[in-house]
């Protein structure tokens, strides 16, 4: 059974600081997503990572994938308050046709 573990689960940061959220998954997968959820809102896709060594960046967020270590990271650079949200690491397989396995989610709070 595929399992996805995120850490930390709670992250309180000051504005301007850097931090990394880690995501480990238990078995081979061929796609990894990072989603963001604001309270009471839908989950928004941030990144799709499909191959070993993939790195994607959008604004202050950068995601990477190491399929050999079964590890993905979401790096936050110079955090701002608008980044406060819950971030989910989500893993899937091409053969699972959209059946995804979610991590527990990391609740990020950025303080002034």
């Amino acid at each position: 059974e595929l399992k996805v573990e995120q850490n930390p689960l709670f992250l309180s940061m000051q504005e301007g600081k850097n931090y990394t959220i880690y995501c480990n998954y238990s078995t081979t997968s061929d796609r990894l997503y990072w989603y963001r959820q604001d309270p009471g809102k839908s989950l928004e896709s941030l990144f799709v990572l499909l191959s070993n060594g993939a790195v994607k960046q959008e604004g202050r967020l950068m995601a990477s994938l190491d399929t050999k270590a079964r590890l993905s990271t979401l790096h936050i650079t110079a955090a701002v308050h608008d980044l406060s949200a819950t971030y989910f690491c989500v893993v899937g397989r091409r053969t699972s046709y959209g059946k995804l396995t979610f991590g527990q989610g990391t609740i990020l709070t950025v303080h002034p």
């Binding site: 996805v4 796609r31 997503y33 989603y35 009471g40 809102k41 839908s42 989950l43 928004e44 896709s45 799709v48 989910f88 899937g92 091409r94 699972s96 046709y97 959209g98 059946k99 995804l100 396995t101 979610f102 991590g103 527990q104 989610g105």
Partner: protein, 113 residues
């Protein structure tokens, strides 16, 4: 483009009652998924429709849950009779092609008392 819409946003019912959740996917999306998050747990897959057919219902917890997608458009998820452990947030998602990122609705928060 309108996103995935779910109705109601909140529902509070008593144990033993019936509740029906509705999901309208993005127009043209053949693939529709139901997921749920119960208190303190991860978001978990329930089932997947391709048009009106159930592609995968391996995540449905028991036979108190019935999902339908008549005509391949909107979908309903009925819980009958509801139990306390059914409380949680039920998400619907859709996509045009199965390996594209899913588009999620805002979810329905179900509370069974």
């Amino acid at each position: 483009e309108a996103g995935v819409t779910q109705f109601p946003s909140h529902s509070v019912i008593e144990k033993g009652q019936t509740v029906t959740l509705r999901c309208d996917p993005i127009s043209g999306h053949d693939n529709l998924y139901w997921y749920r998050r119960v208190m303190g747990k991860e978001i978990k897959f329930l089932l997947h429709f391709v048009k009106e057919s159930k592609q995968d219902e391996s995540g449905m917890p028991n036979n108190r849950f019935l999902a339908e997608r008549t005509g391949g458009t909107y979908s309903t998820l009925k819980v009958q009779p509801a139990e306390l452990e059914d409380s949680g947030v039920y998400f619907c998602a859709s996509t045009g092609t199965v390996n594209s990122p899913l588009h999620f609705g805002n979810g329905t928060r179900l509370t069974v008392t």
